[in-house]
Structures are given as C-alpha cells and as structure tokens.
Symmetry: C2
Subunit: 382 residues, 2 copies
Amino acid sequence: MQNFVYHSPTVIRFGEGEIAQLARHIPEGAKVLLTYGGGSIFQNGVYDQVKAALKGMPFGEFGGIEPNPRYETLMQAVALVRNEGFDFLLAVGGGSVLDGTKFIAAAIGFDGLDPWDILAKQSPVKAALPIGTVLTLPATGSETNGAAVITRGPDKLAFVSDKVKPRFAVLDPATTYSLPPRQVANGVVDAFVHVMEQYMTPSVAPVQDRFSEGLLLTLLEEGPKAMAKPLNYDVRANLMWAATMALNGIVGVGVAQDWSTHSLGHELTARFGIDHGRTLAIVLPAMLRVRKDAKRAKLLQFAERVFAVTGGSEEERIEGAIAKMESFFQSLDVPTRLRDYGVEESAIDGLVAALERKGMTALGEDGGVTLALSRQVFEAAY
Amino acid sequence: MQNFVYHSPTVIRFGEGEIAQLARHIPEGAKVLLTYGGGSIFQNGVYDQVKAALKGMPFGEFGGIEPNPRYETLMQAVALVRNEGFDFLLAVGGGSVLDGTKFIAAAIGFDGLDPWDILAKQSPVKAALPIGTVLTLPATGSETNGAAVITRGPDKLAFVSDKVKPRFAVLDPATTYSLPPRQVANGVVDAFVHVMEQYMTPSVAPVQDRFSEGLLLTLLEEGPKAMAKPLNYDVRANLMWAATMALNGIVGVGVAQDWSTHSLGHELTARFGIDHGRTLAIVLPAMLRVRKDAKRAKLLQFAERVFAVTGGSEEERIEGAIAKMESFFQSLDVPTRLRDYGVEESAIDGLVAALERKGMTALGEDGGVTLALSRQVFEAAY
C-alpha cells in the first residue's frame, strides 16, 4: 500500500426530511448565496423545501449554472458575491452545480490575476468561501470531495483542493424521485466509472478492492431497479450512498489511480456536448480492451468478483467481463459507441490533437496512455 | 436505510515514515502531553521516533495507562493536565491508551462534580481537549472515532462523543512489527467482531453489507499472514487499515447495530481479566447460535459471502458459518470457550447479576438480548 492522507471533513446528513434541518448547519449570521442550475429544483419542490428550511434567513440566489459549468457563468456569480458580500455558498443541485460552486468559492479567494489559472495552471487554492450542499442527483460524488470540473471554450479541466470540500452535505434520496431516467442512468454510469478509475490498476489492496467491488455490485443491482421503480426509497437511498462513496476518496486511498477514461471523455463533452456519464460509457470499454495487458490481473479479479465470469481462458474472461459491463451500460439506455452519438470517425484526429495541446500525452496510472494509445482507444470506441 | 449523520473529521496519515511529520500536525505553540501505556513504545522505538519528530518542542509525559484503562489512573493524568496547563494530548499506543486519553480530554472539560458521570450517567461531553494519535496496535478503531471504554472497579463502561474524535491519526504499519502474536490475534478478533456488531442484524443495506463483508474477508486472509510473516509490510498495512475501517463508522451508517456481544464481553474482562478481544471470541459464536432466528437472513448471507458456505439446509449453513468463524479465532490461538479461561460455570450467575445491576436487560439491535437470553449465551459459551 502506498502512503496516503485521508481527510473527509464533510458532515453527511442522509435521509428523507433532512433538508428541513438545514438552517442549523449554516453558521449564524452568515450571508448565504443559494446556487442552483437550470431550475429543476423549482419543479421537484426542493427550492421550496430549502426556502422553508432557511426560515426567514435572508439569502441571495444565483441560478443558471449549466451542465458542464462554464467559467463565464461562474465569474458572474463571483462578481455577485463580491458586490453583495455573501460569505456562505449553499449549492443545491447535482454535480455541475456543486462543481461550479466550488469554483466560485475558490475564485473569490484567488490572489492572482485570472482565477482560470486554478484550472489551467493548477495554481493552488489558498482560501475559499465555505460551502454547504444539498444534493439532488447522485452521480459525481462532488458533495463530499474537493474536486471540480469546469469548462471554458473548448477546454474542460479539473482542480482539486481541500479548501473547497463542503462543510456539510444533505443527501435526501426522496429528492431524486423525479429525475429523468436519462439522468439516473448517467449517474449510475458515472459512479461506476469513478470506482473503476480507482480500482482498475495493478495495485493490490484488499480493503480498497473489496470496497470498490461492493460499490460496483451495488450499482449493478440498484441501477436497473431505480429505472424500473423510481419511487422506491431504499433503492434511491442505496444508489445515492453508493455514488457518494464512489468518489469521497475512501476506495482510492493508498492505490494507484487511472483517470484516463475521464480525460478522454472530457474531450467528447467539450467537442460534441455528449453527457459526461455517456462519454465514460463510450471510452471505458475501449480503454480496458486496449490496456488489458497492463491491467490483466485486476481485470481477471473484476471478471470473477463483479461479473462472476470464471470460465474460459484469461482472454475470454477479460472480454466476457468487459462485454457484460458494456451490456449493463446499454441496458440503462446508454449507448457505448462514438458512432451512436453521430460523431464521424474523422473527428478522432481533432480529439487526439486536443489531448496533445493540453499535454495529455502520458495518462493513466503508469503514464501508459500515450497519444497513440488514446487514438487506438477512440478508434476502438468508434 | 435509516437516516444518519456521518462525520469523520480525523485526518488519517497512513504509512511508514509518517511519524516523522508529526510536529506539522500539532497546533503551533501547543503545550503537549504525551500519553502512553506500559512502556512498549520504549522497546519498539516509537517513543524515540515521536521524540525526534517533536524536534525540541517541549512536551510532558504521562505513562502507565493500563489495558482496560482505569478511572483512577486517568484522573491522575487529569490532575497533571490541570496543574501543568497542557492543552493538547498526544496519545501514542493502542486502543487502551487512545480510549484513556479520550476520557482525560473529556474529564478536563467536564462541568459537573464527578467526570465518571460521563460514563455512569452518560452525561454529555460539552468540551474536550484536542487529541492527536499515533497508533501502534490495530484493533479498536479508536484512532478515528469518538468512542472510549473505561473501567472503574467492577464496571467497564463506554461513552461516545464527537468532541473526543482525534484531530489526526498517524498510522504507521511498521510500528506493529514487534507486537506479540497474542496482541495481533486479539486485534484481528476485535476488528472482526466490530464489523459483526454492525453487520449482523436484519438491516438490508447493500453498500454497508458489502463493505462489512470486504473487511471480514480481509481479516480472514490477512490475520493469519500477519501471524506467520510478522515483518510483511503490506500485510500489516492491510490489517491496520481494515481495523480502522471496521470502527470508524462507515460500515454502520443507516443500519441497526447490535453490540450485545461487547456488553457481555465487558463483563468477562471486568470480572476475570480476560483480554477484550478474547471475550468477544467467547461470546459471539454463542450469541449467534442463540439468536439465529432473529438474524437468519443475514446469517445465511454471511455464510455464503464470507465463508462460501452454500450447501445444505439453512440450519446447516448457519451452523457451518459459525463453526468456521470459531475455527478462525482458534487458528489464531484465541480459545472460544469460557472453560478455556479457567472460569467456573457457577460464575454465570454473577455475570448475569452484573448485567442486571447495570440495567442491561434488553441488549441488541432489537432489545431481544434479555437477561434470560444473556444467561443462555453464557451457558452456550461455557
């Protein structure tokens, strides 16, 4: 096991009815800015619940944080916070709202010229506004970690900082009842691939491996149930908890991590607007096929423990597991090929060029995902 | 899933060499009291490592915290802290040192007459000194949780408070190389039973169940290896991490918990001085046999997923799994019967009377462990 630091200070308040307790968790006298997305919180009643919970506490609002939150949008919020003196950010929504709010929090405290440097130059975040979160879409794990992905022009980049870890996360599974099936499916795939990025490396670590396998098995079981029975509380709760655990850091401590599937997927979102979760479903099967030698032992373990594939040669077991994973994504109505999204094969040159421009020439846990290999993956995913 | 709050603020610093970084994690200007046990830290070099890491930072010392730390001993430390004005406690040792230090921290801040009320009357802990920990014995999980078990006369009682959760926990697996086999074995059993207390109830929760099963499987695999190959770093690391995860709260969120095995075990330690881990190995198999109807579904799941027992009738599978668990404890040289420890069967009356005196008349996740049932368990464990 590699040395590691694990720190997850977010207070998680999980369960139906927890939103009503919100006011207790916000520092007294705080000037709160409520941040949200495209307005689904008005349709599903969460806005009303939050407003009722804040009980006359005055708060400002900044809505319209889009999926794949954009720098330009978020900088408007930064200006609002500066002008109005907000000192606590309450993010209500899914991963995009949470990620965007993290950037707002970090940009306020940024002491350089352009807060985009937090992403483009990985300038360290020295201070940030405190954040609380009310999660409405289980997927990204953003509610308890320090990571955020922000888009500017054709660039979709990530930063990670302890300073933007939320103070609290309210997770009420009932808020997810009204999610469109497409978002549920995307969330299941996203959480699944988050686990895979931390698990599918040559590292050997029994606790982390078994936690990962437990999350993958849970997503395999509960994902289809959530699609079939959207109003089953326990299914929604299990899915929400699995997605949080998938990326709060606990399964990735002390092991090598990959994340090349995310890097390639981000290009597909940035260039073609494909939903984040769907890009992962396109890239991961191809990535595992192309990289099967570097990941052989763990792929065999994955085949046995997650998909119960134990018969046949090593090659057959590995391909059997990858095919089952692909079928699982497809069973959620998530297509797994680039062509399914109307992308032309000729676009691969541009994707590879974009990776090159960003210096993403040695991705993966071992740097083995070169530009040539990324090209192979895009081609295999076509 | 039940509603829950999960908050694990302890910064975990895991790995060989982490002790050397200790000074960074202690607030500047703090007046540190180093607490420890019977002196093993002088033999295994940990004291020297800690002293070197504190680099000339002046610190006081309080040694001699015994296994099953005693109120009277700890109150001496409380007096020392008051007299000398220490404001940070650095606990170096195993669960007893950590638990004892939590009581010292809480007793200092106690505003009533007798700090024993924190245990006897479960008086709330309103303030406590900050604590840092350097763990040398993986077993109790005390390094990242708010629980402590303290002994006074014939009473061994527990308290739990967020206020005594350690600020940091340094976990260096290399510090465990020199542990006597008996302590390694006790630690494995202790961690195993911590998981069982949270897992073996009728609750159905796939993430928590699979995390629990993952820890049990890890302990089954790595425990014997640690006995056979005491200097294998990865084995020690896996064991240390499993023991921490077993009781940092993560496997027990949102589910019913039992803890009756611990309550009965505490009586065996208080009356006969049997090591804590060993008392659990005595009580748990008997408890599961006596309570098999209340825990049937989970026992069958445990049989299948942890011990791969899938053949035979339900009764046979349940008994098969319990017998395998018992054999596992015995394989670590941990006897599993009361008679093995020289206790007379006639002592059972006194054990039951002690439970009655403490009001422990309806233990377990459902209150089903009545005095009559506890008697049955002690008899079955004889």
